[in-house]
């Protein structure tokens, strides 16, 4: 069962409060998304750790309900 884009965004924002999230539905099927997430809390962490933090917000739905999530993570530049 695919995941609506609104739910995916809500899960990520709930798990990473204050993050800037940009999600694209790659195929329009609710199963293949690309997301760019900018979050202060990623600072100093490896890419693997950053992506693991995002997967943790999805509460086990990654790989099951959600087949593909192409991830790009970054830290906001100092204002």
């Amino acid at each position: 069962m695919p995941m609506p884009i609104t739910e995916l965004e809500k899960l990520i924002l709930t798990g990473l409060p204050g993050a800037k999230v940009n999600i694209e539905d790659l195929r329009g099927d609710g199963d293949h998304y690309a997301a760019h997430i900018e979050f202060k809390g990623f600072e100093g962490l490896s890419r693997v750790k950053q992506h693991q933090m995002v997967y943790a917000t999805l509460k086990g739905k990654m790989g099951g309900e959600l087949h593909a999530l192409a991830l790009q993570t970054s830290v906001p530049e100092e204002q």
Partner: protein, 104 residues
Amino acid sequence: MTDTATFDRIDTIVKKDPVVLFMKGTPTFPQCGFSSTVAQVLAHLQVQYESYNVLEDAEIREGVKAYSDWPTIPQLYVGGEFVGGCDIIREMFESGELQKMVTQ
């Protein structure tokens, strides 16, 4: 939860060879776009690696996700350490970081 036997099997596999790729299918017949992308990157870098077809081993397919705390396949290991899935490998390839890592 992964039983210790599967965990130990994975531990042995990732430490036996310098570069190990858990993928869906094989390098010549990948069964998933993401797995195929990583195999192509490694072929482009002319890296010698051991590939493991998780479609033929359900225990390893689930066990490797718990082992690395990473929910998807493919998974690339270098020097026994989990490096990343498709997105990270592509980013590291584009930045030249992957080439440095696998040729050390």
